[in-house]
Amino acid sequence: MTTAPRNAPMALRVAPMALRLALIILLAALVLAPGLFEPVFAPIAPVGGPVIYTRSSLLSLSLSHLGLVAAASLASTIVAVTLAILVTRPAGEAFRPLSRSITNIGQTFPPVAVLALAVPALGFGVGPTLVALFLYGLLPIFENAMTGLTTLPPQVLEAARGTGLSRRQRLWQVELPLAAPVILAGIRLSLVIALGTATIGSTVAARTLGEVIIAGLLTSNTAFVLQGGLIVGLFAALLYDAMVQIERRLARRMGRS
């Protein structure tokens, strides 16, 4: 979903907005009134079996899923951005390779393995899922924050020093705002991955939309799988789009568009 240039024909300008709206309505209907879709899913449900998942409210599953992703991504963002800031300061430069390795390990370790390892320590439920999502989300944010903070226009940094901004002022008033679009792109990537990955949290009894998919897999009910998958997919697509819009707006304000 891209934004068409200002001089594009009306239809081209309205189309992305219309598509966005349609997807939001579809998602809302799937979550709030799943019964409406019974005729759609009926053909792929097992004969005589349930078509619509009703064991728990899809709204509460969605909220719990989103809450889990938000909490894990917030933690990843804080840790990854802080780390990136520290290792791009002169004093922290020596730690750059080390922090790279750590975040890389976070990404290479499969979330399923993290879950399996974390359950004995943290027990079933939300804990292991949060840990897995947190570790898995670090790398994209860290890498993007590093890129954003190390590719700033040198003249602007020189001017910021020459103007008499202190180190702290340079970071908050110049470096972070200018790196923001790139950092946000990392957060977006991380969020979308986390939205999908969170579904496996249901294998260790975290309340996520994965519950619907797993129930479908266990009972060979394709309708459940599709229902759960569709909701997660739509959340991911809409979130991705919203983040892209924010990044664009920021980039445009900074004359980088």
Binding site: Q155, A159, R161, G162, T163, G164, S166, R167, G255
Partner: protein, 308 residues
């Protein structure tokens, strides 16, 4: 008054700037000229401590620059660089007001100063104040960059090749504007350039640097007429010397009574322009506008020859 006292900067044991001493009078423009690698930028950057000197010191109105924190020092010294370095995420007004904001000026005083400077640089405040740098032309960005450097009425303005990124026509205009604004505000300016023409056009005093050393420091006329080393002579350009010398002098200096025909020349035009007009129109003398006087080819010739 700015005193630079045996200022040295070593890189890997080799001096990039080697015991340079010079005194800059308040309210003048001084140009530091040299080829790349001559240490001119290092010298400039040591003054606001973007580069810390290995030895030596700088005193501004008697106070050594190492007696306060670098970022506080820099708020008292304007700094303009090639390619302007404007903050792309701040409006023109916020860019110009950057240092006053750091100094804690009240909002209305900053706003008034921003409008005053924009007007001074022939940019309509209501039109430009709220624009972003990316929406300006190269010449306008550069003017905003200089306006930002002047905003807090600094003791000293440092400029590092400020016009380097501009095309020749806009560049000449920017130089004229700078000269005019400097006279208007009485600012003290230290400008680094590799362009001797720019130095001669702008500066009251020129410092020529070569391989980290200050090889000559004098008025443009002295530098042109008596280059201290072969390097300075080369920077001035052997063949252009008489013309450069004439370009420093005004027609009114040689005006004498007597008749002359043809188009008039302004009394504040340079002798170089007068020579050019004589040669082009094949005349021996030109009438000076607003007077009954004239300037003759003969007088110009003997003035160019009187350098020694």
């Amino acid at each position: 008054m700015i005193e630079i006292d045996r200022l040295t900067r070593l890189y890997d044991g080799k001096p990039a700037c080697d015991a340079v001493s010079m005194t800059i009078e308040t309210g003048t423009i001084t140009a530091i000229v040299g080829t790349s690698g001559s240490g001119k930028t290092t010298l400039l950057r040591m003054i606001n401590r973007l580069v810390e000197p290995s030895s030596g010191e700088v005193r501004i109105n008697g106070t050594p620059t190492h007696s306060e924190k670098p970022h506080l020092l820099r708020r008292r010294i304007g700094y303009a660089i090639q390619g302007h370095g404007l903050f792309p995420h701040h409006t023109v007004g916020r860019n110009i007001g950057a240092v006053p904001r750091l100094l804690g000026w009240p909002k209305d005083r900053i706003a008034a100063r921003v409008d005053e400077l924009l007007t001074l640089f022939s940019m309509d405040p209501s039109e430009f104040r709220d624009r972003f740098p990316a929406e300006l032309s190269g010449g306008q960005q550069q003017r905003v960059g200089v306006a930002r450097a002047l905003a807090s009425r600094p003791d000293l303005l440092l400029m590092d090749e400020p016009f380097g990124a501009l095309d020749p026509i806009i560049r000449t205009r920017a130089q004229d504007d700078l000269r005019q604004i400097q006279r208007h505000l009485g600012s003290t300016i230290l400008i680094v350039t590799h362009d001797m023409d720019e130095a001669i056009r702008l500066a009251d005093r020129i410092a020529v640097m070569d391989a980290g050393k200050l090889v000559q420091y004098g008025t443009p006329a002295e530098i042109i007429a008596h280059p201290a080393t072969p390097f300075v002579a080369e920077m001035v350009g052997e063949a252009d010397r008489p013309l450069r010398l004439l370009a420093l002098l005004q027609v009114s200096e040689l005006a004498e009574s007597g008749p002359a025909d043809g188009p008039e020349i302004a009394p504040d035009a340079t002798l170089r322009d007068a020579l050019s007009a004589c040669l082009w129109s094949g005349r021996e003398s030109l009438p000076v506008r607003g007077t009954t006087q004239r300037v003759t080819l003969e007088a110009i010739r003997s003035r160019a020859g009187a350098h020694a």
